[in-house]
Amino acid sequence: MLTFILKRIVNGIAVVIAASVLVFALVSLAGDPLASMLSSPGASPQTVAQYRQTLHLDDPIMVRYLSWVGGILHGDLGKSYSGQSVNSMIFSGLGTTLKMVIPAAVFGLVGAVFLGVVGALKRNTAVDHLISALSYALYAIPVFVLAILLKGYIAVPLNNAFGATVLYTIGDSTPGVPPSLSDQVRHAILPVFALAVYSMGPWSRYQRAAMIEVMSSEYIKVARAKGLGRARVVIVHGLRNALIPIVTIAGADFAVIVGGAVVTETVFGWQGMGRVLVDALTGPVSPDVYVVQGWIMVVAIFVVAVNILVDLMYGVLDPRVRR
């Protein structure tokens, strides 16, 4: 098991290094970020050249790469063109985004497991068909459409009915008010719901298939023949085994959720990772190379870490994988 963990970690590091090369090459070679500055009337060629020097944009590409990677190893993602620390920009955005992603992943998983198990146990009945139809519908709706629908058809009528803001549709907390849990929850309900439902559709299908397969296996028959109650057979013997595949899929889908979060944030006006990326790509001096690179690297490291975690979870869930 220990060698397995070590191998996975070494593997993960290799993936991160490869990602850094790719990210740096793609972003740094995409074009001259100062080109727009050069053509603007206010900037003299000397200012631009000096600016170029302070940003080390005139260094050879290898040197720039190594100094960037060296920074990352020290936990420093560099500075944006406006002189802000990329670290603080990204980590404040990341904090906001995780407030959406983590509850959405948890609710999405719980909901998917529930729908999938019910669908499998009630296989080919009206309940199953209803759940299937719902899953496919959720699968088919783009997350931003769902977010907009939630705003317009749930939040607005609800708030109008109560004559007060029950559910917020903008931001992750009310500015100027001391942070409270209820305030944050009321801000988070709609975006978390949209994002959770977004992954619930496909996940519940996987869960249903896994559960059907497990329930038709011989050890379920053996468990029934032992004289165990139905609930115990379904949960202890069935669900416990049917959770193994869904964990892998949810882990692999983590990047997809982050992608969905970037879109959802934009609809609900959260100042998260999505905002950071959009600003870096559309600001006055764009692309803001170090912000974009740092952003992608942080997300990449996160995804790799989650996948390693999933592999370790797999070892916990399935004794056949352990050594």
Partner: protein, 559 residues
């Protein structure tokens, strides 16, 4: 304890049992059609039949374990342990049924590799069975589990109790499943093909274990099986089922001695027996050698978290042209690896393997492909060795097309000839594989292998997935074709009786080595190696008197 005397009131009484399955919206399929039988305390009753006869469904209906699509009618009465009076099981509430399952009637299943939950330790699973019906403290439960594991013959039970199912062999897993059934001390054990998935030597041990338990605890056993040797070994009485009906019931000795129903007679006649068939004599002075292996080693290289594995260890053998070599061994003995190597499907690591004049060691892909048309391969499972979306005509025409050996207009003629050779109607050409029975499909499998009239056929357990009566037909066909087309053949099987029927010479494999080889008659009648003797001794013969004698002698030797 013998139970030939009829106890006045049976433990289990099945009367006019009917099981129908709903198929589609309004179609009903009768799986069990009004059968009756009874089981007395301490008795071993065998329910015998081929696949589709309804024997497994009967067994499952006793414990209410049929899928929801099934409708059960008739009467199943069990004498309850608490009241001592018979109680109707059909229509019992699920709670009441649950109290019977495991506690009074336990079940053992066919496939030990899937009968245990892979994510829990075996100790946990046996303890769960114990606690399903009785309150037992943790300490006592653990002691009881260790004790029962010891009784079913698991070595080092104190340590093994914390192991997971995948850490045991198939035979050990079946022992664990049996332990799970025994620990609740039921009055009746229903064993559904308990030894079908196991090697003969392991089968013999499992049968001994069941017999010992019956003798000690007086537990009645319902033994579902298709294997007449197993019936002869263990059962007191037998019920023969055919197409959902009971065609014959009686004490095992009587039924074997004087089968009344024609189906029973056919079934008994179809069972291959060692040393009864006239084993074919080997070619005395072969003029040509079809296959010659010298010190063949096959090694699977180390992979991710896997050490390298030597499947075949320095094996030498030869097959003369037109000769059938039977390769016998238990699972994991390396016989399939060797067969695949002869077909050029596995590379060999060292030694020399010459097939049809072609050295296979280090052969190039191109050369291998050109020599493939002289080698035919018959696969084990006819259900999965055909592409389900291709009609049989295209399937059988494919070898000709690939090898450009036949002009398109003559293809129909060539395929028709193949159907004639394997005694199937030509009209089958338009069918899909799923429209054929298992036996018919294996005939097509053989037709595909002989399509190009190869001089060498490799058959890997071609009859092990088939019922005995079908198996007998396929083996007859195979012998017939071999006489007619005179190909050399490597016939891989775990069944000594099959070898007896068609192999000129036989080689016995164990743990990657050939321990004995020679003329089939010699090997079977005068086995020299201890392992061959053990194999032959473990094979249950379909004759109750002989088999009882054999198994008691074997037990005396092993204990």
């Amino acid at each position: 304890m013998t139970t030939s005397e009829r106890a006045p009131d049976p433990l289990l009484e099945v009367r006019d049992l009917r099981v129908t399955f709903r198929e589609g919206t309004d179609q009903q399929v009768e799986a069990v059609d009004g059968i009756s039988f009874e089981v007395h305390p301490g008795e071993v009753l065998a329910i015998v039949g081929e696949s589709g006869s309804g024997k497994s469904i009967t067994a499952h209906s006793v414990l209410g374990l049929l899928p929801p699509l099934a409708t059960v009618a008739g009467s199943i009465r069990l004498r309850r342990r608490t009241s001592g009076r018979p109680e109707e099981l059909i229509g019992l509430s699920s709670g009441a049924m649950r109290r019977i399952r495991g506690a009074e009637v336990a079940m053992i299943f066919q496939e030990p590799s899937t009968a245990l939950n892979p994510v829990y330790t075996i100790g946990w699973q046996i303890k769960e069975a114990l606690r399903a019906h009785s309150r037992v403290s943790g300490r006592t439960a653990r002691d009881m589990v260790v004790e029962i594991l010891r009784r079913v013959g698991i070595p080092e039970p104190e340590k093994r109790v914390g192991y997971y199912p995948h850490q045991f062999s198939g035979g050990q897993r079946q022992r664990i499943v049996i332990a799970m059934a025994l620990i609740q001390n039921p009055d009746l054990i229903i064993a559904d093909e308990p030894t079908t998935a196991l090697d003969v030597t392991v089968q013999a041990e499992i049968l001994d274990l069941l017999r010992a338990h019956r003798d000690e605890a007086g537990t009645a056993i319902v033994l579902i099986t298709h294997n007449m040797g197993v019936v002869a070994d263990l059962a007191d009485r037998m019920v023969v089922m055919y197409q959902g009906c009971v065609v014959e019931t009686g004490p095992v000795s009587e039924v074997f001695e004087q089968p009344q129903h024609p189906y029973t007679r056919n079934l008994l006649a179809a069972v291959p027996r060692v040393g009864v068939q006239s084993a074919r004599e080997p070619v005395a002075a072969p003029d040509r050698i079809a296959v010659e292996g010298r010190d063949v080693v096959i090694e699977y290289p180390a992979g991710f978290r896997r050490a390298s594995f030597r499947a075949v260890n320095s094996v030498s053998f030869r097959i003369a042209a037109g000769e059938v070599l039977g390769l016998v061994g238990e699972s994991g003995s390396g016989k399939t690896s060797l067969g695949r190597a002869v077909a050029g499907l596995n590379p060999i690591s060292s030694g020399s393997l010459v097939a049809l004049g072609q050295e296979l060691k280090g052969i190039s892909r191109g050369k291998l492909r050109s020599s493939r048309k002289d080698v035919g391969f018959v696969f084990q499972d006819p259900a999965t060795s055909f592409n389900p979306r291709i009609r049989l005509f295209d399937c059988l025409a494919e070898p000709f097309i690939v090898n450009n050996s036949t002009e398109r207009p003559q293809l129909r003629q060539a395929v028709n000839e193949l159907f004639d050779l394997v005694h199937l109607p030509r009209s089958f050409a338009e069918r899909f594989p799923h429209e054929l029975s298992g036996g018919q499909r294996q005939r097509v499998g053989i037709a595909r292998a002989i399509a190009l009239r190869p001089s060498l056929i490799i058959a890997d357990e071609p009859t092990s997935a088939l019922d005995v009566s079908v198996q007998a037909q396929i083996l007859t066909l195979f012998t017939e074709l071999q006489d007619e087309l005179n190909y050399a053949c490597l016939f891989i099987t775990h069944d000594l009786a099959v070898v007896d029927m068609l192999a000129h010479r036989t080689a016995v494999m164990r743990r990657g080595e050939i321990v004995e080889q020679g003329a089939t008659r010699e090997v079977l009648l005068h086995p020299q190696h201890e392992y061959t003797q053990q194999l032959i001794g473990s094979l249950p013969v379909p004759d109750p008197a002989v088999q009882r004698d054999r198994s008691s002698r074997r037990q005396a030797v092993t204990s």
